[in-house]
Amino acid sequence: MTFSRRAILPAILVAALALVPILAPFLQVVLIFALMKGIAVLGVTVLLRAGQVSFGHALFFGIAAYAGAFLAASPFDDLVLLVLAGLVTSAVTGLIVGIFVARYRGIFFAMLNLAFSMIFWSILEKFYYLTGGADGLRLPRPTVLGMAFERGAFEDILYYVALGLALLLGWFVIRFLNSPIGQLYQTVKTNETRLEYLGISPRVALIKGYVLSAALCGVGGVLMATAQGIVTPSYAYWVRSGEMVFIAVLGGAGSVAGAFAGSIAYELVRTYAAAFAGDIWQLLLGAFLLVIILFAPGGLVGIYNSVFDRARGAAGSAKRETGVPKKPAEVRS
């Protein structure tokens, strides 16, 4: 019963998102980026479930975006093919990197991912005759299922593609995390030696999750490249990775709904705050990240749940996860 009530607000939000291009077109650009980033943040979320944080997932975001840009320059420049190319490229890269990094946990996992993404970033910058260097590559507007569209119509289509993929992939990740292999992640987080004694390989489980997380970042990246019409090395820079981790923690570490709640809140604030706080944007992010970690570790979803629990009275206090939502509650508006 609680679940269904709790789902009311998310359901309203999804419906509102679907109506944005009709009712509030001025929000469309912000929200399309939020949805695409949200898909990428889902990837970080999968790993956070296993207690692992990656400071280098922009690698997959970037590599898929570049794959999309290369394909868009060929005769096969269709949106469906671009997304598929991004998905496959990032998943394959994820498998290669994952086989290596899945041996590590914690600090090593985080920093090796950072090292891989820095390598990729410097390749993008150095091999400019292939990648366009710091200027990046243009990604001309692709056709959709063979049909060419005007700019406005294409943006509407892209918006609904992003929304549809966000829902589809969000649902898929929830299913994945509830599946037997997803359940293992809870144990990878707490005590994976026990898993091994059960005859289960936590490494294989983590590699699978890693490929999924890379593919999610890739889909987000290739969509973002299509929406922006250009890919630059900043797609793969550590700032982007940091942003993804930030959004995941903001929304609620390890929560699928949180990935999107976080990215929508983040993009809305960024769009309107960056105008007068552009110089100190990372400073604000860092400070805010500290506040969330120290005072509201459940993120936006945690706050939502605790507000809900409080409204329903006593029952909720038993499983209190977050601190007093005094300051962070302002974030939601």
Partner: protein
Amino acid sequence: MNAQLFILALFDGVAYAALVFMVAVGLTLIFGVLRVLNVAHGSLYAIGAYVTVSAGSAIIAAGYSPVLAFPLMLVAAILVGVVLGGLMEKLLLSRIYDRPEVLQLLVTFAVFMMLEDVQRLVWGNQPYFQSAAVNLLGNVELFGVFYTSYQLIFLPLVALATLIGLRLFLRRTLTGKLITAVTEDREAAQFIGINAERVYLLTFIAGAALAGLGGALASPTTSVLPGIGTEMIVLSFAVVATAGLGQIEGAAVAALLIGLGRSFAVYLYPELQVLVPYLIMLLVLLVRPEGLFGSPAARKI
């Protein structure tokens, strides 16, 4: 590659290794004692460099002797250590020692994000350059190659002194022994009356000061500009991971390995210059996941 280029690459590598070692040893010291990887370590390095360059330029512009550039480096390092390091440990890290590793990483990462912007706010985007210290020591000829004495003699000597000094400090002095005791077993150390919190604070300040000193020492040899901190944290992590987390002597060996690898790449395959440190790290970790000198951690069930 002729003999002269070989010697040049060798010198480059040694000079570079000395700098990287200074930063990496601070990182590994902090990790060894606090069990926290300080992602903001690279920012401390960058701020050390910025402080030295701008204060050095101001001193020289005011007409004082450029010799002051050397004590200034120490001052900058201590400032970075006490002010930034001290504040960071007291205000943030001391709250999260019992929290999961991921959260500790996120906290230092948040500080890293903040400090990167702070640098940009204070010093802007333009590069700074102040090489009074290098010019002062002049050049030296060795094996038919001219090289700055600062990089060839001064930097390696400082690095060596740091290595030996740290070793003696940890083994021979009371404070050093207390630090070693807390590293071995925090709870047992507290039982016998060691103030672990103070040890943590002191270690973090020392580690941060080493990062600042690394930046201060690097500043006369290179342009100081945004992004050097990011590059350094990844590089010094590569050194620390190659050596094994918490290994001080190992960090020296790994720094040499990576410094030389990088400088030879500069002459042989310039495109690979950035990649070589990571390739070395990845190769070492493939064979020995705990690093060259690390020992596998005991597994708890």
